[in-house]
Subunit: 83 residues, 2 copies
């Protein structure tokens, strides 16, 4: 079993209203030295061992986990997770 | 300026319907060797330099960014981001 960690983030230049809202809330709470907030997704997948795992993760990211038009994705594959 | 990277994840034992839905979709797309999907948030904050930054990030996580009852959070503070 492998543990795959995927980060999905908005591309630079894409507006992030959720991040803006969080920044506004932080500012109202007194944390006004926070200049920018960007929000992304973080996914952890437990995947059975497979020799094509990297290629499959790449496909999953492109087709379902991220929207490649507006989002970037990065992943790492870690060994030896016990289910 | 510092770059703070925050990971917010559901605690173990807390149900993750979004993760379940993604796993179901992956399975229908043919990726049925994915055993489990857990979805979390990933936030990037640009914060002005401050000597109490770690303490403030800790407070922000507890009060706004995460729900400590059902979520765990982790963060790293990186140096030298140009705004």
């Amino acid at each position: 079993m492998k543990l795959v960690k995927v980060h999905v983030t908005l591309k630079e230049g894409v507006l992030d209203p959720q991040g803006k809202a969080i920044q506004g809330s932080l500012s109202r709470l007194g944390y006004d030295h926070v200049q920018e907030v960007r929000v992304g997704k973080y996914l952890e997948l437990k995947v059975e061992d497979d020799q094509h795992i990297e290629q499959q993760i790449e496909e999953m990211c492109r087709t379902l986990l991220a929207n490649p038009v507006i989002e970037n994705y990065e992943y790492t594959v870690e060994e030896g997770v016990t289910s």
